[in-house]
């Protein structure tokens, strides 16, 4: 079992003919993902790595019965593409695109929810169900099927941590990169609930960072979950008031400090790793 995505999920790639779209379509195919169609307006009829390109999501979904979409469309066009995918009936929408104005996400995310479509991201590395399928941009080789579920607000830091988990001899069920923006489709506590319900997932690793209060909310939720949970929080030495790359990663007005998050996790019985690789040691301890 896995959450959100597995080897049967039929995926379309929006923005498939772009640089990123092409590159990651190949990698997703290599990982075994059922990439059944691509979408780029005006490029219908082309092929990308053997995948047929359509002019619209409607055509792509009609032709293939796809139920999921991954979005590489540039930020100014992302809202249009997202609403199109939702209207075309996809149930899972993974938004890789970064730098989408959050006011657009204030439309996309509630609308998706209204229509029963789950959004992951934006500004995220996507999802990998280890050994099954990938809807994302994470490197293929770092994953190995196992029983650890991973949730992260970050991109490369996730790779670092997954790599550490795998190198330590463990493996993953599903790794969910929820994204670093202020308004995202699936929050950290929501992702936690998903993995908590997954039978194959025996323990969960949560990678947080400064900014917002989602880690604190996650810690609260963690109290009611009977699986071991481990956390890492990036930014404990970041200067307050500075935007650390992610629009989300900012300590302002005393909110969202690493201290507060670490305290919340520890109070909820969630051990927090001091260094990213320490996650492996924590897993070993159990």
């Amino acid at each position: 079992m896995a959450v959100l995505l597995d080897e049967k999920t039929k995926l379309i790639v929006q923005g498939i003919t772009g640089h990123q779209g092409q590159f990651h379509t190949e990698k997703m195919l290599e990982y075994g993902t059922k990439v059944v169609a691509g979408v780029t307006p005006g490029k219908g009829g082309e092929q990308v790595h053997g995948v047929s390109v359509y002019d619209s999501c409607f055509e792509a979904v009609d032709a293939t019965g796809a139920s999921a979409s991954i979005l590489f469309v540039p930020a100014p066009y992302a809202k249009d593409a997202a609403i199109e995918a939702i209207e075309a009936g996809v149930e899972l929408l993974v938004m890789i695109t970064e730098r989408i104005p959050f006011h657009d996400c204030l439309d996309i995310v509630p609308y998706a929810r209204a229509k029963g479509c789950r959004v992951i991201g934006p500004n995220c590395p996507g999802i990998v169900s280890a050994g099954k399928a990938k809807a994302g941009i994470m490197p293929n080789h770092i994953f190995r099927p196992g029983d650890v579920g991973v949730i992260s607000r970050s991109g490369t830091l996730t790779y670092e941590i997954v790599n550490a988990i795998t190198n330590a001899g463990f493996g993953e069920t599903t790794c969910i990169g929820i994204g670093g923006d202020p308004v995202i489709g699936t929050s950290m506590p929501e992702a936690l609930e998903l993995l908590a319900k997954d039978k194959q997932t025996k323990r969960i690793v949560v990678v947080g960072e400064i900014g917002g209060t989602t880690e604190e909310e996650t810690a609260k939720r963690a109290r009611r979950i009977r699986k071991p949970i481990y956390a890492y929080v990036a930014g404990r030495t970041a200067p307050p008031g500075k935007r650390m790359g992610h629009a989300g990663a900012i300590i302002s007005k005393g909110m969202g400090t690493a201290e507060s998050k670490i305290k919340a996790f520890e109070a909820a019985g969630v051990p927090v790793a001091a260094f990213p690789t320490e996650i492996a040691a924590l897993l070993r301890g159990n």
């Binding site: 590159f23 990698k27 930020a75 100014p76 730098r99 989408i100 104005p101 959050f102 006011h103 996400c105 204030l106 439309d107 995310v109 509630p110 609308y111 209204a114 941009i137 994470m138 490197p139 770092i142 992260s152 607000r153 970050s154 991109g155 490369t156 830091l157 996730t158 790779y159 670092e160 790599n163 670093g180 202020p182 308004v183 929050s187 960072e209 400064i210 917002g212 209060t213 989602t214 909310e217 890492y232 990036a234 930014g235 404990r236 030495t237 970041a238 200067p239 500075k242 935007r243 650390m244 790359g245 992610h246 629009a247 989300g248 990663a249 005393g254 001091a274 260094f275 990213p276 690789t277």
Partner: protein, 368 residues
């Protein structure tokens, strides 16, 4: 994006929100016929200007110019004051607080108000803060304004003016892609009018393409940060002496954390992002070098990024800048062997980020 006070006022005015009259001046003589009495305020992008002496009162034109003379050129935090704003002094009967921001958990705009205005909202007791979400997809409805007026126990005439300002502020919040619209104090004047005593505006950087008119507004960045921003690179100058460069916001923060935990002091923070272009790596590296770090800690978890591309960019930058800064490099990714080859003689290779951080501290201390 942040806005100078006078600029924020200009935008508030555009949406029909009453703000005090004022005159912007870069030299004292530019203050002609100011609204009197007035407050002369330093235009800087950080708080605390009052304590620093950047706000003075004036009853006459001469006093206003004198105030401007003393404030202009002053240093507040890291900034030199280049502009003052001579603003109508309001005859305030009562100060309220009003702001709109987003609630990340609720994925909805959040409206915050208080009958206790004029101070930082953080110092207002929780019990006297009113919060209500604006439902996304359908927008601001009248019930929200009724609830606000009731919570603040506003008399009828004040309530209708506050409601009108709130409606316009929400239009501004949406129309300008704002992250924060803050009016503090929202001033009830002795003559009964309600005016935005001070207006603060922060706009989503990501929405800059929709607001080209904001593109050239000065921000609270050092010249080097500004240069990086123009090139689309996330770069932040810090106090320490070890420059940190990594790819991805989370990993860069984590690298800085590990370095600091290992006893080093991060001196600058550069996020290469997802780039795979040696030219962009070179540009980024050059900016970091301009910050004159004594050691550079490079941490790339490539995944998909090609390690040799990054190494090449680093090498080219060092050569172009003709500097000889030791680089502790930990590069994981496709072609990592070739990367080691390229950096031979320049860098100190490391395998994990912890190891790299320790090594950087050692190198900085002259240990190697």
């Amino acid at each position: 994006m942040k806005f100078y006070e006078y600029k924020a006022h200009e935008i508030f005015r555009k949406y029909g929100i009453p703000v005090p009259r004022g005159i912007l001046a870069t030299r004292p003589e530019e203050i002609v016929d100011p609204p009197l009495p007035c407050v002369v305020k330093a235009q800087v992008l950080i708080g605390g200007r009052g304590k620093a002496g950047g706000i003075k009162f004036a009853k006459t034109l001469e006093e206003a110019r004198e105030a401007a003379r003393r404030i202009l050129g002053m240093t507040i935090g890291p900034y030199k004051v280049r502009q003052v704003y001579a603003q109508e002094m309001l005859d305030i009967a009562r100060e309220l607080y009003f702001s709109i921001t987003i609630d990340r958990s609720a994925r909805a705009p959040l409206l915050i108000a208080s009958a206790a205005g004029g101070m930082e909202i953080e110092s207002v007791p929780e019990g006297s803060i009113f919060r209500i979400h604006v439902p996304p997809l359908v927008g601001l409805q009248p019930y929200i304004l009724r609830a606000l007026s009731k919570a603040l126990a506003l008399p009828k005439e004040v309530a209708s003016q506050v409601s009108d300002i709130a409606r316009k502020a929400f239009a501004l919040f949406e129309g300008e892609d704002a992250e924060l619209v803050e009016i503090n104090p929202l001033a009830v004047l002795k003559d009964g009018r309600v005016v935005a005593g001070d207006a603060k505006l922060i706009v989503d950087d990501n929405a800059e393409y929709r607001h080209p008119e904001y593109a050239d507004l000065p921000q609270d960045r050092t010249p080097l940060e500004e240069e990086a921003h123009d090139k689309g690179i996330t770069f932040i100058q810090l106090d320490g002496d070890i420059g940190v460069i990594a790819n991805g916001a989370g990993l860069t923060m984590a690298t800085l954390d590990v370095l600091n935990l290992k006893g080093g002091r991060g001196g600058a923070f550069l996020d290469l992002g997802g780039t795979d272009d040696p030219e962009k790596v070179k540009q980024a590296f050059e900016i970091l070098l301009k910050a004159k770090p004594s050691v550079i800690l490079l941490n790339i978890f490539g995944g998909i990024t090609k390690a040799d591309t990054v190494a090449l960019g680093v090498k080219q930058a060092l050569e172009a800048m003709r500097v000889n800064v030791p680089v502790v490099a930990r590069i994981k990714g496709v072609n990592e062997d070739r990367a080691r080859e390229i950096l031979k003689g320049i860098g100190y290779p490391a395998d994990t980020m912890e190891e790299a951080a320790e090594l950087a501290v050692k190198v900085q201390a002259g240990g190697r």
